[in-house]
């Protein structure tokens, strides 16, 4: 089962290039050091960048000035988490149990959520120079222990909310870092392309949340494309369920096959596209198609999926070309354009994107 990154020590005198190198270590023997370096970068990067003039541009350079909120005294990229406990009721926000910088307590759900919010901010800030969900340093609020045996986690437009699960099918929803990343990414989508939560646009909204949810975990654990599980919600099912996770980006339709829950119904390409009434038009089903397209891009390019593949998807999401009712073909077009703009029209990145969409049966808008 996948856990969350552990607490870290601050290493404020280590030079940034060394931190970046440490942060990219993938050898499991150095997982602790790598995580500490990433957390240190997340905390101190904005100041460090100012302190080392004349250095070559860092891959972790700060965001454009206009993207940063003018909140007095706040350092861009710094994180401001507040965790609340709903105590089993369905009332938000609940009682505040941990604020930014306070040490962990004894409740694992609080610790998991707190660390998961940090890992998500870390990915978006260091890799895409996005300062929190809104790009302007929005404080990150979350509530745990929502409802009684509540089988869900969601982003309500303002905060993340986690249930404890029923204990029969689902464990607590903070157990999976991909779930935390998934929910926060819904917030990012809301503040960027604002995709409708219905039909193909809704499936894209879901898929983008799965893609970046998976990248949050891969980045936190230093997993390359080849090493990553590409699963969403690993560890959420109890031992009674025959299944490893809620979804698989690598192989949609294979995450579970259980007597009670049935078989993972996600299609892996357009031939299996589902016209559904439920679930806002099958948004959690058809997301399997763009999910697999992203995996195929990552697989073709190799290395770390949060680098070129993640950048292309992020550029497409934030580039301004997507309408809120975008369909798969529109999104395919946006990613191809983003890949060509950043890496070149004849680049391997652009070709990987084009091939991936055709493999899952989606033809970009401009070529249909």
């Amino acid at each position: 089962m996948v856990g969350t990154p552990h607490s870290f020590t601050r290493c404020t005198i280590v030079p940034p290039y060394l931190l970046v190198r440490l942060a990219r270590l993938t050898d499991p023997r150095y997982a602790g050091a790598a995580e500490a370096a990433r957390q240190s970068l997340l905390r101190d990067l904005p100041i460090r960048e100012l302190r080392v003039p004349g250095q070559p541009p860092s891959p972790l350079a700060g965001p454009p000035r206009d993207a940063v909120a003018a909140r007095p005294g706040r350092r861009p990229g710094s994180i401001d988490r507040t965790l609340a406990d709903a105590g089993g009721r369905e009332l938000l926000p609940g009682r505040v149990v941990r604020r930014e910088g306070q040490p962990p307590g004894t409740d694992p759900a609080v610790t998991e959520a707190y660390d998961g919010l940090g890992s998500t901010q870390l990915l978006f800030w260091t890799q895409f120079q996005r300062d929190s969900i809104d790009g302007a340093g929005l404080p990150l609020d979350a509530t745990v222990h929502y409802g009684e045996r509540y089988d869900n986690a969601f982003w309500n437009g303002e905060r993340m909310v986690f249930g404890d699960g029923d204990g029969q099918v689902f464990n607590r929803f903070t157990l999976s870092l991909t779930v935390i990343g998934h929910e926060l990414t819904h917030g990012v989508v809301q503040h960027t392309a604002n995709l409708d939560y219905r039909g193909q646009a809704g499936a894209l909204n879901e898929s983008v949340a799965d893609v970046f949810g998976s990248l949050v975990e891969q980045f936190a654990f230093g997993q390359s494309t080849a090493a990553a599980s590409w699963l969403i919600g690993e560890g959420l099912f109890t031992d009674e369920v025959e299944g490893s996770a809620l979804r698989s980006l690598k192989a949609p339709g294979t995450a579970f096959n259980d007597d009670v829950l049935g078989k993972d119904p996600q299609p892996a390409d357009m031939a299996g596209y589902v016209d559904a009434d439920d679930d806002n038009g099958g948004v959690h089903l058809n997301s399997g198609i763009p999910n697999r397209a992203f995996y195929l891009v990552a697989d073709a390019l190799g290395g770390n999926a949060w680098e070129a593949p993640g950048r292309i998807w992020y550029d497409a999401l934030t580039g301004g070309s997507l309408r809120s009712n975008a369909d798969f073909a529109d999104f395919a077009q946006a990613t191809e354009t983003a890949a060509a703009d950043r890496y070149g029209a004849d680049s391997s990145e652009k070709h990987a994107v084009a091939t991936a969409w055709r493999t899952v049966g989606v033809n970009p808008t401009s070529t249909t």
Partner: protein
């Protein structure tokens, strides 16, 4: 008369269905009274929120679809009653 509640969506996207044959219930008249108080024709149409549940409630020819935040009052009472009456997890491979 049957009451069928199906819940789709949620981050898991796994549909669950619960079904109760009202005629077989010892408190049959309570069920009927509750069902008659439901405002079938006035279901709110809230914009869907990511990963919230969507409830579809069917009773004879009547159907209502409610977003999770709108599942309040007698709607919620009915859904909880159906879930408690038929507490077993039901297989659901249909879409």
């Amino acid at each position: 008369m049957k009451v069928i509640v199906s819940r789709s969506g949620g981050i898991a996207g796994i549909r669950r269905t619960w079904e109760v044959l009202v005629d077989d219930q010892p408190d049959f008249s309570d069920w009927l009274a509750l069902i008659e108080t439901l405002p079938w024709g006035e279901v709110p149409r809230t914009a869907p929120q990511p990963d919230r549940f969507v409830y579809r409630i069917r009773c004879d020819a009547r159907t209502a679809e409610l977003a999770e935040p709108d599942l309040t009052g007698p709607w919620r009472e009915l859904v909880e009653r159906v879930q408690q009456t038929e507490p077993t997890r039901s297989p659901d491979e249909s879409r």
